[in-house]
């Protein structure tokens, strides 16, 4: 028995030194040994083969439904006025200046039924459907058994992901986070100086690089000249907690968030020792002015790192950008927008917090093939005179959506949990009534005619 334990221990040491030597150390210095590139290339080839195989299978068996990634129904995109106008044109009555006709209800009825079959909001809070299967069981909606070879490759994939990649990634994550806690605590002991800041940045970046390797993350940064500067506010679309790792791999940011307990709390407290982050107690979050003041103070100090904010307030599934909360756009004038777009082919990064808790989410991440994403740094935007915070927020949101190839929606991400406000229904009523009544006088006139 003793012998077995010793052998296991030796193996573990060898394993650990390989990991440290080949992955951790190069990662810390930003050097790539090329393993991830080769891995991704092999993966792409395999997935292409799998896709072709499935397509061939679908042609041979026509009863298979081909996946429509765009939804169930084709919607008419006309505005309320256009649609109701069309309805009335066929009506024999000669209507001048608008009036009610019974067929007006058809417009609302059809819209209602369309929404019952498929609606814009629920879609955004479920994972994006892929047009072809990427050999992960979790994305398998309707793909059925095609061939023995495909099933074998899938089985091989399961083995590789769970037995080889998962332990490796967990090791890296543990190393990375421990390094962060230990490193920042040590740096925190130093007196304030330029050296301290430089060391703090180093510790943070190396830790995030290790974590990124822990997810087999391949990140492409575009337009690095627009990177956020000190004393600025960085704003990005939110898909998952991993966004932080993705962005922090290429720069140092001051994080903003709620104080947590447990492991998160330990990490938060140690991070603050080496450089200022903004952590709020739950009670403080309720007071908007206190929050705004703390953030303003932070960005006023030009030696502090740029703060990172996700104005959507919740995780969206990376096919669209939802309403930006105006709070972040009220505290400062210069915003550095960043667009993050994940490639869903290799792994779905979206955190559906209603379905999965953080631990099962991280496990899913670590058993995906890889995380591949693009990050675009957009040129800084400032609030124009005469523009209020909401308009500014929408302008930034459109820029991010446009760059990332995401749909720009004005729905509030909070709708995931809350009911629709009455005011939205009133808006519909207003639009309709302006077609019926218009100005006060017109209605009376058409009665007299």
């Amino acid at each position: 028995m003793e012998g077995a334990w010793e052998i296991a221990f030796v193996l573990f040491q060898v394993w650990l030194s390989i990991v440290v030597g080949l992955i951790v150390l190069p990662a810390m210095f930003g050097v790539s040994l090329g393993f991830t590139d080769i891995y991704i290339r092999v993966l792409v080839k395999t997935l292409e083969w799998a896709t072709l195989r499935i397509q061939r299978g679908q042609k041979e068996q026509p009863t298979l439904p081909s996946q429509s990634a765009n939804g169930i129904i084709e919607k008419d995109d006309g505005s309320m006025e256009e649609e109701i106008g069309e309805l009335r044109r066929s009506h024999p009555k000669n209507l001048v200046g608008g009036d009610f006709t019974m067929c007006d209800a058809f417009y609302f009825c059809k819209k209602g039924i369309e929404n019952i079959v498929e609606d814009q909001v629920t879609q955004r809070f479920t994972s994006e459907e892929l047009a072809s299967w990427n050999l992960l069981t979790r994305t398998n909606n309707n793909f059925r058994y095609i061939s023995v070879r495909l099933t074998i490759i899938w089985g091989l994939g399961v083995f590789i992901r769970y037995c080889i990649l998962l332990p490796l990634r967990i090791t890296l994550a543990v190393i990375g986070l421990s390094w962060l806690v230990i490193g920042t605590t040590i740096v925190g002991l130093l007196p304030s100086s330029n050296a301290k800041n430089w060391l703090s940045d180093l510790v943070h970046i190396t830790c995030y690089r290790i974590c990124a390797r822990g997810l087999s993350a391949t990140i492409r940064y575009h337009n690095k000249e627009n990177r956020p500067k000190k004393g600025g506010i960085c704003v990005a679309n939110h898909t998952s907690p991993i966004d932080i790792v993705i962005l922090a791999n290429d720069g140092c940011y001051a994080m903003v968030g709620q104080v947590h307990g447990g492991l998160m709390g330990v990490i938060q407290r140690s991070m603050v020792l080496s450089c200022p982050h903004v952590w709020f107690e739950r009670s403080e979050m309720k007071d908007r002015h206190a929050v705004a003041k703390r953030l303003k103070d932070h960005i006023a100090d030009k030696t502090k790192l740029p703060i990172l904010i996700f104005p959507e307030g919740t995780c969206i599934n990376n096919t669209s950008v939802m309403m930006f909360k105006k709070g972040s756009f009220e505290i400062g004038r210069t915003i550095y927008p960043v667009a993050i777009k994940y490639d869903p082919q290799f792994g779905d990064a979206f955190w559906n917090s209603a379905k999965y808790n953080i631990v099962s989410y991280l496990l899913r991440m670590m058993t995906s093939w890889a995380i591949v994403c693009n990050v675009w740094y957009l040129p800084p935007m400032t609030r124009q005179d005469g523009e209020d915070a909401v308009q500014f927020a929408n302008r930034v949101k459109s820029a991010i959506a446009h760059q990332g190839g995401l749909v720009d929606l004005s729905w509030d991400g909070g709708l995931k949990r809350e009911k629709v406000k009455e005011s939205l229904k009133e808006e519909q009523q207003k639009m309709y009534s302006s077609m019926i009544v218009g100005q006060q006088g017109r209605l009376m006139l058409s009665i007299l005619i």
């Binding site: 009506h91 009610f100 009534s433």
Partner: protein, 194 residues
């Protein structure tokens, strides 16, 4: 890895349903998925709150009535059969369907679509749209944006034009007649993608 036929088999009486409604197997699967997605608690049937959770429907001025159309009087739940049958009203009209004299009228015929719309107005299901019922619909669609008098005058005029037998209410025939030139097929149909 589920297969098409096994998913279809999970739906009871799916063959009969497909024949009655005219939906293809692919449509049935998509609708079943949607039904399950709406049925958040996995009870196997939908209640009004499940419909109410659809944000865009909650914003629709006559959203409540549309939801009500799914529930038979007295019933508080909608099963998948009823769900699909109601949605079948909105399938585009089958232009190539041969006219068999003894077969029942398809659910998505022009007449049945009109009947569906008629029932949105005629909430007490007495076969006539009374002045009160018309007023209620107008109130729903216009809310606080118009005055009581305007609502009343609109209702009066609508009845005046459509009511041919002067009984101060609009029957289904009168409803149909007043809308005979409207392209019902286009306006009350939803195109389902393959």
């Amino acid at each position: 890895m589920g297969s098409t036929s096994s998913t279809l088999l999970k739906i009871p009486n799916v063959e009969v349903l497909m024949q009655e409604t005219g939906f293809s197997p692919a449509h049935m699967i998509r609708l079943h998925d949607r039904f399950k997605a709406l049925d958040k608690e996995g009870r196997g049937h939908l209640c009004p709150q499940d419909f109410g959770a659809i944000k865009e429907l909650a914003m629709n001025p006559i959203g409540d009535r549309i939801i009500g159309a799914f529930f038979c009087p007295g019933k508080e739940t909608v099963d998948f059969h009823t769900f699909v049958k109601i949605l079948a009203h909105f399938r585009p009209v089958d232009k190539n369907r041969p006219k068999e004299p003894n077969s029942p009228e398809p659910i998505n015929s022009r007449s049945n679509k009109l009947r569906f719309a008629f029932q949105l107005y005629d909430q007490d299901k007495d076969g006539k749209i009374s002045r009160d019922e018309l007023l209620k619909v107008l109130q729903a669609m216009l809310g606080m944006q118009v005055t009581e008098e305007q609502l009343e005058s609109i209702a009066d005029r609508t009845i005046q034009e459509a009511d041919l037998d002067r009984d101060d209410a609009i029957s289904f025939e009168e409803f149909r007649k007043s809308l005979e030139k409207v392209n019902i097929d286009h306006k009350m149909s939803i195109r389902f993608l393959r």
